[in-house]
C-alpha cells in the first residue's frame, strides 16, 4: 500500500517536473516534431563521429598536424565558447556588485548560457586532447605550475563550478528546496566576486597562450596586448550574446517568460554598454597596430582582412549600436548584437586558425568530422538550454520566490 503511494507520488513528480505535466507516452509523442528529428539526426551522427575520434585518434578524425596542432575545436569550441559565455560574469557583476538591479531578469539566462558554454567548451577540449585520459592530471597529480595552461585549466574548471553554483537557486526553486535555495542566494555576492576574478584571469590568459607563438601569428594579429584584447572583446561578446539570447528566448519560450519585464528597455541599456566597450576595444586594437608599427601591412591582402574585422565587426557595429540605442530601435540592436557575436567568432578564428601559421603550407582546413563535431556540440548546448528553460525558473522567477531575492 505504502509502496503504491510512493510510486504514485514519484510518478506525479516525474510528470510535473520532467514530462511537463504530460504522461510519458504523450510527452514522447510531443517530441516528434521535424525540428526535434533534425536535432536527433545531428546528435546521433555527431556522437558517432566523436566515438570514432576516441577510438581511432585525432589523426583519423581531424586535419590537425604537428605544425597545426590547434584547429577548429580550440578556435571555435574553446575560444569562442568561452568568449561568448562572458555574459555570465558581466551581467552578474553588473547586477550583484554594481547594483544595476533592473537587469536581474536577464542574469539567470546569462548564467545558464555561460555554464553550458563552458561545459561544452570543455567537452570540445576533451575531444582535442591527444591523450584525453590525462585530462585530470593537472588538477590532481601534476599541477604544472610553470605552464601557461595551468592557469587556464584551473580558472576554467573553477569558474565552471562557480557558474554551476550560481545557477543552483533556479534548480532548487524547481525542486521546491527553499532552504537550500535561500542558502545559495546568500553566497551570491561571494560567487560573483569569484566569477569576476576567475573570468578576468582566464579570458585574458586564453589570449596569453598566443604570446608563446609570436612568429606563428600574422603580425597584424600578434600583439603583446592580446590578453587585453581577449578580455575586452569577451565583454562585448558577453553583452551581445545576452541581447541575442534574451531576444530569442523571449520569443521561443514566450510561455515561460516574465511579461512584466520590459525587455526592450533592458536591451537598449545593454546595447549602450556594448557600444561603449566596442568603441574602447577598437582603439585598443588600433594601439596594438601602432605598437607593432605594422601600418604598411594594411595595404596587403591580410591587411584588408584585418580591416574587415576591426572596422567591419568592431567600429561599425559600435556606431550602429549607439545610434540604435539612442533611437530605441530594438530590432536593429538585436541584429547588430548578432553581428558583434559573429565578429568575436571571426576574431578568435583569425588568431587561432586563419592568421595562425599564415605562412605555412599546406594550410589547415578543418575536416568534415571536425565541423560536424562542432555542430553537434552547439546543438547539444542549445538542446540542454531548451530542456532547462522549459522546466526551471530561468526566464521568470516563480511568484512565491519573487519577494526573496
Amino acid at each position: 500500500m505504502r509502496s503504491d503511494a510512493v510510486a504514485l507520488q514519484s510518478q506525479g513528480w516525474l510528470t510535473e517536473k520532467i514530462f511537463l505535466g504530460l504522461t510519458p507516452r504523450a510527452y514522447l509523442r510531443s517530441l516528434l516534431t521535424p525540428g526535434n528529428l533534425a536535432v536527433a539526426l545531428i546528435l546521433v551522427s555527431g556522437l558517432g563521429i566523436i566515438a570514432y575520434r576516441f577510438i581511432y585518434g585525432l589523426g583519423a578524425a581531424t586535419n590537425l598536424s604537428q605544425d597545426t596542432p590547434w584547429g577548429l575545436w580550440i578556435g571555435f569550441d574553446m575560444l569562442c565558447g568561452v568568449a561568448l559565455a562572458a555574459g555570465g560574469f558581466t551581467l552578474a557583476s553588473s547586477v550583484y556588485l554594481l547594483g544595476l538591479k533592473e537587469y536581474h531578469p536577464v542574469v539567470r539566462p546569462a548564467v545558464l548560457t555561460a555554464f553550458l558554454g563552458y561545459v561544452f567548451a570543455a567537452i570540445g577540449l576533451a575531444c582535442d586532447l591527444g591523450r584525453p585520459w590525462n585530462f585530470p592530471t593537472p588538477f590532481l597529480f601534476s599541477f604544472g605550475t610553470t605552464s601557461v595552461m595551468f592557469e587556464v585549466g584551473w580558472c576554467v574548471l573553477l569558474y565552471t563550478l562557480v557558474l554551476a553554483a550560481e545557477f543552483t537557486p533556479s534548480v532548487f526553486e524547481w525542486l521546491g528546496l527553499k532552504r537550500w535555495r535561500d542558502f545559495m542566494l546568500k553566497l551570491t555576492v561571494g560567487l560573483t566576486v569569484a566569477a569576476v576574478v576567475l573570468s578576468t584571469l582566464h579570458q585574458a590568459s586564453l589570449g596569453g597562450l598566443f604570446l608563446m607563438a609570436p612568429h606563428r601569428i600574422h603580425p597584424l594579429w600578434y600583439s603583446p596586448f592580446i590578453p587585453i584584447f581577449f578580455f575586452i572583446s569577451a565583454i562585448t561578446a558577453g553583452l551581445s550574446m545576452v541581447i541575442v539570447e534574451s531576444g530569442l528566448s523571449h520569443r521561443a519560450f514566450a510561455h515561460r517568460a516574465d511579461h512584466h519585464v520590459n525587455l526592450d528597455r533592458l536591451t537598449i541599456g545593454l546595447a549602450r554598454a556594448a557600444a561603449v566597450v566596442l568603441f574602447t576595444y577598437f582603439f585598443a586594437r588600433l594601439q596594438g597596430l601602432a605598437d607593432g608599427n605594422h601600418w604598411a601591412l594594411l595595404l596587403t591582402g591580410w591587411g584588408a582582412w584585418y580591416l574587415f574585422e576591426v572596422v567591419g565587426f568592431v567600429l561599425v557595429p559600435s556606431l550602429v549600436l549607439a545610434s540604435a540605442a539612442r533611437r530605441e530601435q530594438v530590432k536593429l540592436i538585436r541584429w547588430t548584437a548578432a553581428w558583434v557575436v559573429l565578429g568575436v567568432v571571426v576574431n578568435r578564428l583569425n588568431v587561432s586558425v586563419i592568421a595562425f601559421n599564415w605562412n605555412v603550407t599546406p594550410r589547415y582546413v578543418p575536416s568534415v568530422m571536425e565541423i560536424l563535431t562542432t555542430i553537434t556540440l552547439v546543438t547539444m548546448g542549445v538542446t540542454v538550454f531548451r530542456w532547462v528553460v522549459n522546466r526551471m525558473p530561468v526566464l521568470a522567477e516563480l511568484p512565491e520566490y519573487r519577494e526573496t531575492r
Binding site: 549602450r272 568603441f279 582603439f283 594601439q287 608599427n293 549607439a322 530605441e328
Partner: protein, 233 residues
Amino acid sequence: MIPHDILTLYTAKAIEYLVAIAFIACFIPFWRYAMSAKAQPAEATVKARVPRRTQWVEWFQVSPEVAYHPGHAWARAERPGLVTVGMDDFAQKLVGPIAEVSLPHVGARVSQGEPAWSVRADGQSVSMLSPIDGVVAAVNPNIVSSPDLVNRDPYGDGWLVRVHAPKAEATLKGLLQPRLARRWIEEATNDLRRLMAPELGLALQDGGVPVDGIAHAIDPSDWRRVARTFLLT
C-alpha cells in the same frame, strides 16, 4: 641601436600617444551620444497612448494603465525613460472646476514627493506632488487654454507633463499599482465620507457621484486645508 631604429621607435611611440589622445577626444562625445535619448515629438506618443478604459471605484475612476502616487498624481511610462504625469480623478473631483494649472517649465527638474505644479480653483491654489524624479521634457500645451481638460479627462487629454526619467522603471515600481490603488481609493473615499457634511451625504443616497469640488463642499471656508490633507501638501 642604430639611429634609424631610434627614429622608428620614436615614430611608433608618437603614434601610440596620438592614438591614446584620439581615443580620449573621441570617447567623451561618443559616450554622450550613446547615453542620450533622441528627442521625439512630445505630442505624438501621448495621443497614441490615451488610456482606453477606466474602472469605477466608489465615486472615482481608476485607470489600470497608470501607477499612482499617494499625493493623487499618476504616472505612466510612454516609452523607456519617458513618463507622462497627471492628477487622478480623485484629485480633480476633490478640487473641483479648475481655473488654472501652473506647470513647471520644460527642462525643470522634478523630484518624487516634492511639489511640482499647482492648480487654482475657486480663487485659491493648491500644490501637488510629483510622482517621479526627472526632468520635464514637455508640458501639455492645451492645459493653459483649457484647464478644464483635467476635469473632463484626467487620464487622457488632461495629462500635465512628460518627464524624462532615466530610472523610470524602478521608480514606477515603487508607486501604487492599479490593484493596490483601488483599495487605496476605497480607503480615501471612506475618509471623505467621515468628513462630509450632511447635505453632501444626501446627494449620495441615490447612488450618485458627489458634486465636483468635494473639498469645497466639506469646508467652504477653508477647502484648501481639506484638499491639502489628501494631496499631502
